[in-house]
Amino acid sequence: MTTLQICLLTSALLFATGFAGAVTRRHAILVLIGIELMLNAANLNLIAFWRFGPHPELLTGFIFVLFSMALAAAEAAVGLALVIAIYRHKKTSNLDEVRDLKG
């Protein structure tokens, strides 16, 4: 097992955890946490490939991950704003009860 493989395995585990959390939790904030986890897992993946890839001396991977983190933060803000809007409308943060778009 090379170091790269260990890092990738770790990020995969993190991604799976985040995905499981996003998909199975009832509370809206917890779903957002899961999404954050998935994003960070992806970031870890990127760092691993940068560190153990062909040109580790360039800062390409690092900058890419930095952008990704900024995006994650922005997306978290938007997600929280959505949750607050839904809470104001529906008086609940339980995602099982937000089924207005049911066909």
């Binding site: 937000v98 778009l101 066909g103």
Partner: protein, 717 residues
């Protein structure tokens, strides 16, 4: 002299160009009378009489024009192109020759006198305007027949004449007998017209032109066209000229009431008496004779002239035989008739037979002379009978008249003159000279002497029945019921004259007619005598005029003819004596008494009285067949053609029902089912939307895994 000649030449052209006015004026008069809403009797009568008077003056000008020509027969033609017919122009035109001029003068003059008579006769009729409209229309048609130079124009005018005859016979159409008589007249003459049409079409096909005469001698009656046709032969070896001539003669047979198409003329007496006088004595029935005279060049073509100026051809032989048979046939029927107008009607048929015979044996001049003289004295007799009927309060049966000599002296005098002219009383009366010409030529006919003997027998009968009629009407004791019962009788018989009868309540006895009716009678009587001047053997002006030769007064010609004149005089006097003896001396006392001849020979008399049962024969054969054909056509129409139409309609209905079925079940149902399925699938699809975010995320996750699997391993394949 030259200037005079030029002026004359111009005058000829003038009248020929304006010849069309002669039939056009009565036509215009008829049109104006027809569109009048309120009855304006004076206007109608003056228009009609005025148009005929102007026509007469123009005819005199035309006659004068034909006199001035030098050698040969005067013939001037005026035609103009009228319509383009299958690539070539068809002309319409009129011709002025002696035949035309003479007929024009006679028709306009006699017509004018009869119109004047009608003013008095129809004064109490409500339909005065309609009568004069039809009379004027008839006059225009008849005059058109006379001047027509074109077969098409001739046929059109011929049909107008037939139509107005129908309209006028059935003038009192609410009488069923009058309506039936009108229908009979029209249909019977139509049968003849069929022959005429066929003959004309054939003539056009043979010669290529519809014009009778043209300026450059290419007309279908002129020598070039006829000689071209002479070589053609049709079925049975009959020459084409003969066949065409016989077909055209068929038209004359119908119109002039020759046997076997004579049956309509006696029934035509249902019309008012002026109609009988004008149409069925003087003019329309003469149109048939005129037709034969007009196409005489065709009918006489090919045969050499005999020394008496007449040709013998097959066609003319047929004409002679038909004429001779008709003459004796109807003269014998007239002996046994009791209606004053029927006697005259059969007499007309008989005299028309004489005219045809004259045309056949002697040529145009002989036949036409008798036509002209006959027109005058027959019109006189009919109008006189109208005066008698009027005076006897619409009584028409001679058995119920008698002794009218005292009550109607003027009518008696002129009627006597007419009767003597018709019988052919020697020397003073035109009928004698004209009939003698016919008998003279019949005697000289090379084919057979039988027409001559038939003609003599007919003359005997004519004298006899006319004497019988005059004796029964004017002599003896008055046998009529000129009191209450006769008023009832006349009420029932002529309802249109009811107002007249009511006005005449004060008159119990027959009375003389007013001057408006007697003056034309007197004029006609004068001509019945004067016309004899035109055709005596000593100075045969008429014959010379028609042929275009000059005639000279030659008393020596009596040397050839005095034997025949004596023979015919004897025949006439025998007939008159017989009539006087049987009817004049031994007058019948009552109306219901049996006729002298009836008592002597009841069977023969019955046959004659019933017109040889010809009508019944036609009823059994032709009419039955016609009815059968009509009912067969009705059957065809109802079941076969109607059936076909019904089948089509049912098929359409069936198809329509099938379409509806298809539409209802296949289209609609299919569409509806499809929409249902779509909606259901939509419903199913919408169930995928649970509204839960987690579900969506799960789906995204699964789809992502599948995509990765595909990308890693699916590509290889």
């Amino acid at each position: 002299m030259r200037l005079g000649g030029l002026a004359l030449k111009k005058k000829m052209n003038w009248i020929v160009q304006y010849l069309w006015l002669i039939p056009a004026l009565p036509l215009v008069a008829a049109g104006i009378i027809a569109v009048n809403k309120q009855p304006q009797r004076k206007l109608a009568a003056s228009l009609a009489i005025g148009s005929m008077a102007v026509g007469f003056l123009l005819s005199l000008c035309a006659f004068a024009a034909t006199l001035h020509h030098g050698e040969g027969v005067f013939r001037e033609v005026y035609s103009f192109p009228w319509i383009k017919f299958g690539g070539q122009w068809m002309d319409i035109g009129w011709v002025l020759d002696p035949l035309t001029a003479v007929m024009l003068m006679m028709v306009t003059f006699v017509g004018m006198l009869i119109f004047i008579f009608s003013v008095g006769y129809m004064a109490h009729d409500q339909n005065f305007m309609r009568f004069f409209c039809f009379l004027a229309l008839f006059a225009s048609g008849m005059l058109g027949v006379i001047i027509a130079n074109n077969l098409f124009l001739f046929f059109v005018s011929w049909e107008i004449v037939g139509l107005t005859s129908y309209l006028l016979i059935g003038f009192w159409y609410h009488k069923p007998s009058a309506a039936a008589a009108a229908k009979k007249a029209f249909i019977t003459t139509r049968i003849g017209d069929l022959g005429l049409l066929l003959g004309m079409v054939w003539l056009y096909a043979q010669t290529g032109t519809l014009n009778l005469y043209t300026a450059d001698h290419t007309g279908c009656l002129e020598a070039s066209a006829l000689s071209q046709m002479a070589t053609h032969v049709t079925i049975g070896g009959l020459g084409v000229t003969t066949a065409i001539g016989l077909l055209i003669f068929l038209g004359a047979v119908g119109k002039s009431g020759q046997v076997p198409l004579h049956v309509w003329l006696p029934d035509a007496m249902e019309g008012p008496t002026p109609v009988s006088a004008l149409i069925h004595a003087a003019t329309m029935v003469a149109a048939g004779v005129f037709l034969v005279a007009r196409v005489y060049p065709l009918m006489s073509f090919g045969a050499p002239l005999t020394e008496h100026g007449a040709s013998v051809t097959t066609a003319l032989t047929v004409v002679t035989w038909v004429g001779a048979i008709t003459a004796i046939f109807s003269a014998s029927i007239a002996v046994a008739q009791n209606d004053i107008k029927r006697i005259l009607a059969y007499s007309t048929v008989s005299q028309l037979g004489y005219m045809m015979m004259g045309l056949g044996v002697g040529g145009v001049a002989v036949g036409m002379f008798h036509l002209i003289t006959h027109a005058f004295f027959k019109a006189l007799l009919f109008l006189g009978s109208g005066s008698v009927i009027h005076g006897c309060h619409e009584e028409q049966d001679v058995r119920k008249m008698g002794g009218l000599r005292k009550y109607m002296p003027v009518t008696f005098a002129v009627y006597g003159i007419g009767m003597l002219a018709l019988s052919g009383f020697p020397l003073f009366f035109s009928g004698f000279w004209s009939k003698d010409e016919i008998l003279h030529h019949a005697h000289k006919w090379p084919v057979s002497q039988i027409p001559f003997y038939l003609g003599c027998a007919g003359a005997l009968f004519t004298a006899f029945y006319m004497t019988r009629q005059v004796a029964l009407v004017f002599y003896g004791k008055y046998r009529g019921h000129a009191d209450e019962s006769s008023h009832d009788q006349s009420h029932s018989s002529h309802s249109s004259h009811s107002s007249h009868v009511a006005a005449e309540d004060g008159h119990d006895t027959p009375h003389e007619s007013p001057a408006v009716m007697t003056v034309p009678l007197i004029i006609l009587a004068v001509f019945a005598i004067l016309l004899s001047v035109l055709g005596t053997p000593a100075w045969p002006w008429f014959e010379g005029y028609l042929k275009g030769e000059a005639t000279i007064l030659d008393w020596s010609r009596f040397g050839d003819t005095w034997v025949l004149m004596l023979v015919s005089s004897v025949i006439v006097l025998t007939g008159i004596t017989l009539g006087v003896f049987l009817y004049g001396k031994r007058q019948r006392q009552t109306a219901e008494e049996k006729d002298v001849l009836e008592a002597a020979q009841p069977v023969v008399f019955r046959i004659l009285q019933n017109k040889y049962y010809i009508d019944e024969l036609y009823e059994l054969t032709v009419i039955r067949f016609n009815a059968f054909a009509a009912s067969f056509c009705d059957f065809l129409d109802t079941w076969i053609f109607g059936g076909a139409v019904l089948l089509v309609s049912y098929a359409t209905l069936g198809l329509a029902w099938l379409y509806r079925l298809t539409d209802e079940y296949f289209v609609n149902l299919g569409f509806d089912t499809g929409c249902e399925a779509l909606r259901e699938s939509g419903g199913l699809s919408s169930k995928l939307h649970s509204g839960r975010v987690q579900t969506y995320l799960r789906v995204i996750g699964v789809a992502l895994v599948l995509l990765i699997l595909f990308l890693i391993w699916g590509r290889k394949a």
